[in-house]
């Protein structure tokens, strides 16, 4: 169901969408059942003059079966949900498939830095490619990332990949993704990280092999134009009044200046 709202562009995003569908079907069934019962009882058992309500304690077996049997069914369906979930979770977060490329993602207030290990697949060597707010990856290749944060907690989030992972200062967290669609998409920071949290974004561009090589050449020549800035520029320009005044003449700040 999620894919109707947003593109599904990584190898595991389909699994997550399917898990969502499975859970939706199960809880949709329960929701309709319970909600239906609630509405039906409310409408059916309205007060009528001279009709007394029934006296049901709900402690005899003949009565409790009406809540207990659905209850057993809930347990059964819980097991299905847990099983389905753990399969997907183990696949996404607990296992690292063999890597084709390695990148390091560093979050800081309020931008993302990306270090691509380059052809040799080792970080901190001469062929590293460093970009800011702009990540370039090749389609259909498995990427491992090492996630770090320089100051506060950030969250590396790529909605089209269905990928989110917190970056904790003091730790290196490993993860992976494998893009399946080309295009240019949003990177978000999905954990409150301070004043500029609302502008902490980036662009991830999934390339075919040819356009990737072309972009790398551009980066090395210095003739490169950031995809992030291009996206920000072509879509909607930043509203000038927010970016300049930053709320200095507002009510609360005014009051604060009195104190």
């Amino acid at each position: 169901m999620i894919e109707y709202f947003i593109l599904s562009a990584s190898s595991f995003s389909g699994d997550i969408d399917n898990l969502f569908l499975v859970i939706t079907l199960i809880i949709g069934f329960w929701f309709i059942l319970v909600f239906g019962a609630l509405v039906y009882f409310t409408l059916k058992f309205r007060r009528k003059d001279g009709v007394k309500a029934e006296y049901i304690t709900g402690e005899k077996h003949s009565e409790t079966k009406w809540t207990h049997y659905p209850h057993y069914a809930v347990i059964a369906m819980d097991v299905v949900i847990i099983a389905a979930n753990i399969i997907v979770w183990v696949n996404i977060k607990q296992t690292l498939p063999p890597k084709d490329n390695l990148i390091r993602v560093i979050g800081q207030q309020w931008s993302w830095s990306f270090v691509d290990a380059g052809p040799d697949g080792v970080l901190d060597t001469a062929d590293d490619i460093t970009t800011v707010n702009d990540l370039h990856v090749k389609v259909d290749e498995t990427y491992h990332f090492e996630l770090q944060a320089r100051d506060v907690i950030h969250n590396f989030s790529v909605p089209v990949f269905r990928l989110r992972q917190d970056a904790l200062p003091g730790r290196t967290i490993k993860g992976w993704f494998k893009p399946t669609n080309t295009g240019s998409f949003d990177i978000q920071c999905a954990e409150m990280c301070g004043y500029g949290h609302g502008i902490m974004g980036g662009a991830i561009t999934v390339h075919t092999k040819e356009s990737y090589d072309e972009t790398i050449v551009q980066i090395k020549n210095g003739t490169y134009e950031s995809h992030y800035q291009k996206r920000m520029g072509t879509k909607t320009p930043l509203p000038s009044n927010t970016s300049h005044t930053e709320g200095h003449n507002s009510f609360a700040v005014l009051l604060a200046s009195i104190f």
């Binding site: 607990q94 690292l96 770090q148 944060a149 904790l168 003091g170 290196t172 967290i173």
Partner: protein
Amino acid sequence: MSEAYAHPNYVKIWFWLVVLLLISVAGPMLEIPALTIITAFGIAVIKAFLVAANFMHLKFEKQIISFLLILALCLLGVFFFGVAPDIMMTDGDQWIDCIADKSCVEQRL
């Protein structure tokens, strides 16, 4: 209070507490770490039990109070073991403590 129960001999309990204290201080002098743990924390537990049972009259109190306290300690245990895998180890599944292996961004960037 008006309820009557036999008082334990408070001075005797105090005497045993002081003896236990001396043992726990003497324990580390043997310089055997395993023994130190036993003398330090094992004796702390015994002392705590003695104080709670006799001085705090837990021996004579309704059982619900003891139940309450044990439940509190169990919940603390849940907290400890829920947190332990993340905080107590320098590397876990899919993450490493980069302070420990000096690979942190602070050091390099």
